[in-house]
Symmetry: C2
Subunit: 205 residues, 2 copies
Amino acid sequence: MKLYDTQRAPNPRRVRWLMAEKGIEDIEVVQVDLLSGQHRTPEYRGKVGAPHVPALELDDGTCISESLAICRYLEALHPEPNLFGRDAKEQAVIEMWTRRVEMYLANPMMLTVRFTHPALAALEAPKPEVAAYNRDSADRYMKVLDRRLADREFIAADRFTIADIVAVTGIDFGRLIKYRLPAEHEHLKRWLDACRARPAAKAGM
Amino acid sequence: MKLYDTQRAPNPRRVRWLMAEKGIEDIEVVQVDLLSGQHRTPEYRGKVGAPHVPALELDDGTCISESLAICRYLEALHPEPNLFGRDAKEQAVIEMWTRRVEMYLANPMMLTVRFTHPALAALEAPKPEVAAYNRDSADRYMKVLDRRLADREFIAADRFTIADIVAVTGIDFGRLIKYRLPAEHEHLKRWLDACRARPAAKAGM
């Protein structure tokens, strides 16, 4: 299998982090240069079917894009440590939290960076109202998450899961625009430090 | 089990549609009135943990929000007809397409309606740039989907799946702002008509 990857973007980092948690080392990693538009070439689009990174190419040539589809597929091949839930109910709770942190925090943070960071203005015209709308959403969800973590070690279960990966990689992406976590979010800060201290967190920071 | 549901919104319709495809009839459906803010009451938030509809309350009191987490949970309880994939690879392909149509079409259409429709201005101030950004995304993805459907009956597999449900319910929600499918998208139109003709499509139109 081959993973089409790119440094710095938050979605590929979800996959690298999951691979590091599971100790997956038998996937060839191929770097795709977004700034030079390598993901938009006919060759890449022909293979993946979309200009999306990351993508996982299976041995039969099938390409899977969408980081969370890739992560769930890798969990099926490498079930331990379990990151998506052990039974239908736990899977549902973990998926619920993963989607919440993705929709209300990670994706809004990504769009805030995209429409704020000067280097990305080359890719798409700045959209201040879109940036502000998304930043408000991310800010609001930080507060929700801080409350959630007041009496829990991790977001979705009594152990580290894919929901934590999606939340941390989303927050960390804000570093590109020097996003600072509001100081009053002490529970969020404690959880963030604990996640960042995991050996797998280093996977392609 | 109880499903907290609301008419017209697109996400609860995904769940109703899936339930109708699977013939699930043993779940009590409770209507939540969004316009009067019933989802924001301490009672509802205390139960679901968020002001989100739909939500599925399990018999042990656990509440699952996020329509796709609910749908996947119901698939685990009622595996047939299969809508999420029969093995890890098919599941990955279906999840990839489900996420694509959600992120690039259904969610953008939802935000376009939210920031365009006059009745919804009561809930949130109009944001014309956010509406335009999302409408562009939905328009662009209609084109991608039309090409995808040129030589295929359904979006993600050789049968109807959850990806089709997410795409149709997203497109149908555009009716609130009289969104018209561009006439040149003949493949998309054929697929849309076929999906709308399914008996389950009537589930809470």
